[in-house]
Symmetry: D2
Subunit: 324 residues, 4 copies
């Protein structure tokens, strides 16, 4: 293998740049040419491909976002689109791919591999930490810390006014960000898609806390089955009628995707990027380079996409127990 290409796809996450840097430099170290594909699958189709040098990735380790950019690609969902992509890669003599992204990225990579047989290794880049085959995903630790800083600030103002705050964090199908924010932020309640918490239970909990706590924080994962934070707040509020209690809602939104990555995400991105390239060289393909119990493990895309990673029961218990 003498020429490989790297791209980012799906929602960006802090640490993707560290990963790109590691891919490029590991390639150079092994005397391989590394190409960068701009805008993910869309750029692949349009031949938006450029050769990377060591200095192309200087001074990006500490930056959020992705210098290779990301985009949706309807065309790549079609056979014609993928064929065009393969032709563009062939033109450049690309013999291997590193795909940085999440579920959707790997689904595309798997189909592409099955159709054209181009060796591909993935790196888990998404803030949601919802990918099987790795303990943590690149960007998750930064997202949690960013959310936590926001929650710390909100607690200041919640405490000053004795308010109940509902704070919505990211996580469409996964409560990982929510539960870590709940433990780390000392939240009174956490609502995640993995467990059922009814409005009745929320109301009961909050009413129970009235004696011991003047203000409360409820963390809501965006994918919770009772709705978003605003909707849940409205339902709860209606059950406190006649009581002199203020309710507020904040949706943290896209600030969770950006920012300079934490040490953990810089290291995870770097390890994963190096492992992807060295995996390709050793013949790994159609799989993701994750870190499980501090070891690099290559898991088939198939497992990464289809198996789900459960929330840790210990974390749910920890959050509940410590919120007394």
């Amino acid at each position: 293998m003498k020429k490989i290409a790297v791209f980012t796809s799906g929602g960006d996450s802090p640490g993707m740049n560290a990963c790109i840097r590691a891919v490029v430099r590991t390639g150079i170290y092994h005397e391989i040419d590394v190409y960068g594909i701009m805008y993910g699958y869309d750029g692949m189709i349009h031949g938006n491909i450029r050769k990377m040098q060591s200095h192309s990735v200087s001074n990006i380790l500490q930056r959020g976002g992705t210098i290779l950019k990301s985009a949706r690609s309807e065309a790549f969902r079609t056979k014609e689109g993928r064929k065009k992509a393969y032709e563009e890669l062939s033109k450049h003599g690309i013999e291997g791919l590193v795909a940085i992204g999440g579920d959707g990225t790997f689904t595309g990579a798997k189909i592409f591999f099955e159709e054209f047989g181009l060796p591909t290794v993935g790196c888990p880049g998404t803030i949601d930490n919802d990918i099987f085959g790795t303990d943590y995903t690149i960007g998750f630790d930064t997202a949690v810390n960013t959310a936590l800083e926001a929650i710390d600030k909100i607690r200041d103002t919640a405490a000053a006014h004795d308010r109940i705050f509902f704070i919505e964090v990211m996580g469409r199908d996964s409560g990982y960000i929510a539960i870590e924010c709940g433990i780390g932020g000392g939240a009174e309640l956490v609502m995640v898609p993995e467990t059922t918490t009814t409005i009745d239970e929320v109301v009961k909990s909050l009413k129970g806390l009235r004696k011991s706590k003047t203000s409360s924080i409820v963390i809501v994962a965006e994918g919770d089955e009772e709705g978003g934070a605003a909707e849940i707040m409205d339902k709860v509020k209606s059950r406190f009628k006649g009581e002199d209690k203020e309710f507020k809602v904040t949706t943290l939104g896209h600030i969770q995707r950006g920012g300079s990555p934490t040490a953990k995400d810089r290291i995870l991105g770097s390890r994963s990027g190096m492992a992807a390239v060295e995996g390709l060289l050793k013949g790994e393909s159609n799989c993701m380079a994750g870190i499980i119990n501090d070891q690099v493990i290559y898991s088939p895309f198939d497992a990464c996409i289809n198996k789900s990673k459960p929330l840790k029961d210990e974390y749910l218990r920890l959050q509940e127990l410590l919120s007394i």
Copy 2:
């Protein structure tokens, strides 16, 4: 004057604790007893008043929120309520008041002074910077820096996906936070209540920038005449139909109220608190201790409440010129 009391009222702002600390320690320095009133006017009415020592305000300088808490008080809007408040203060022998807050706080303080003649000096504590009689209000600098950090993060993800982001910052009647965030965040457009920017103009600007910029950020003050950021985005988006452009919205919300105050806010809070106490001792009353051109100036509550502080034209021009 041998006994004074201090309270915070209205929305909390970072630096209020620095101000409380300065009031307490300046009082002690001048051998005056200082009392803290909890929950603003409401606590005044309920006699929620406690004597403060030097160590009561230890280790609070760097904290957001207010250790004296804040609350709304419907009762204080009535003559009976205010009479009750005066009686409670009299019971404790309070001879002077320091009121930390914004417009509403000073309106209450003015009426109370006119009715009962208790000497009162205000300190400008609000993140909005919408108070006449001071160049900056306590908490404004922190709010701007908090919003700016969020905007920096959002720019990472906006750039990664070539998106147009509408970001709503606080400021109901004032575009101060928005304009400073606009200049500091390198925003492409800023929408403030003080100037009229039509949807037509926004659309025209954004379309004009398409050649030179792949992503754009529009900062919207919550009080803008065209609506909040979400509403404005919807209007603008409908005018980009058929174009492959993604629009996103984020409302920064209450994170702007909390957090450890910046150096500027700690110093402003400290100066203002010291000036309030020393003003009371020198016979100042029914006025606010602001800082204008780096000098302590006592302005009548009447002026602070009724005069408006215009946005600087230079800032509007600076933002526009630099966004090319």
Copy 3:
């Protein structure tokens, strides 16, 4: 077991408060009285012991330092001192101990247990991550992120002036902070006590980088065999005579010990604190509650003190490979 006590000892680390909070609340949850011992072993000897309530640990989760304070204790190194400590604990009816700290703390705890048989479980609180029996210690992640933020800032000014910076981070016997900062900060070189890097090698590396890099950063663990960062810089500088290259040194020092803990350290502190109490209840003693491969593991104090935790070879390789 109906009464336990908790204390912190040795150098403080961010997350110790999260751990104290977890100990107190887990105790309360299991209907046990929890006492706080102030100033570690010294306070034990002097009977500086107080009962803790749930609200005693409110609002401390996000704070650096330790509310129970820490101190050296010469007296506890004597048999008489320890006897006095045991008598004070007996007076309060203490039946179990949670010791939060590092090597020295556990050595004391082990001797104390062997002499008086009071069940004791430790929690690994130290920024150095040099304790066997846990993947990470409480405070390590925060220290690394604090150092990394400082390194990012220094890189700005290093790059502006094309300078070579030597940055000393904490770690007397351990290069953990240094190596994570080296990978995360994109350092050109890392000098750790675990490996030998001669001045010759440093000079050769830096001279080799002259073509590709205008500025360089060398991270030095305080315990490196070639001396501190200042000493190493002097040695290296003398080998660049006649060349127009500026060298600078910064010792990050005690900022690495303080600050609001990261999510990881809040969670690790919380888990470890809960595990210590529940371990005591289940009969664990003379051991530390660490987290290995994401599982709570109780390792004998003996092992924690005497076995050393090697640096990961993968990390050394990663840093070297990516610095090209």
Copy 4:
């Protein structure tokens, strides 16, 4: 005037990039070509000059350091060097200069102007805030906030161990950073070059505080007449012999020069850069564009270099009074 050039010189400061961006974009707005000179006066002599476009300064507003880099230039201190510099500028047809830097930069600019008559306007870029003709310099606010964050962290560990910390901040001839950190950080004592504080006084103060404070922080400006923080600590420590008190020292160093600029510094850099270009166009020269009482003021280089800016007495008093 159709062609101007901009450069940075002396120590870098956060906000210099905001200033460069404003110079370039204001020039383009007024249909002027703007050239960037790399490495200050040194690059001027070597003709290291390149044309800047609007996108040359994209995405730099939020970055520390200076994209134009900085360097010392012995050659520029000679007549021959300056002649060479003038010839290089003439080759490019440069008709005006914007010099971003401090004292040394403006001294060079003044001599250069007097010899060759090339119109030059300066922008005050230095973290020390020691320049007459402007209330604040670009980078000062960021440096203070960076130092303050470090001081907050150190206070955590100082409090945990009841220690006395001596913290050295930057400021060779000026106590501005020190005094703002002293007020903002709640320091017990501040030692600045502008006032004389003897070791006797320091010892007396610290001994006096023993009853009320268990830990103390002394901020030392690097240019204090009693020496650096380490030297002062040693002197003080020797006077506490026999007392069980721990002393520690931290020198914050170069972290104060880097980092993402605060809102204030981004705005100040932007205003100053715009004012420099528009000043040149209106015929201003041999002067600096400062901001005094929120107005742009052009002060002759001569005054900026030779007049000193005294510390505010109010600040010294505020710090002292609030440290009780």
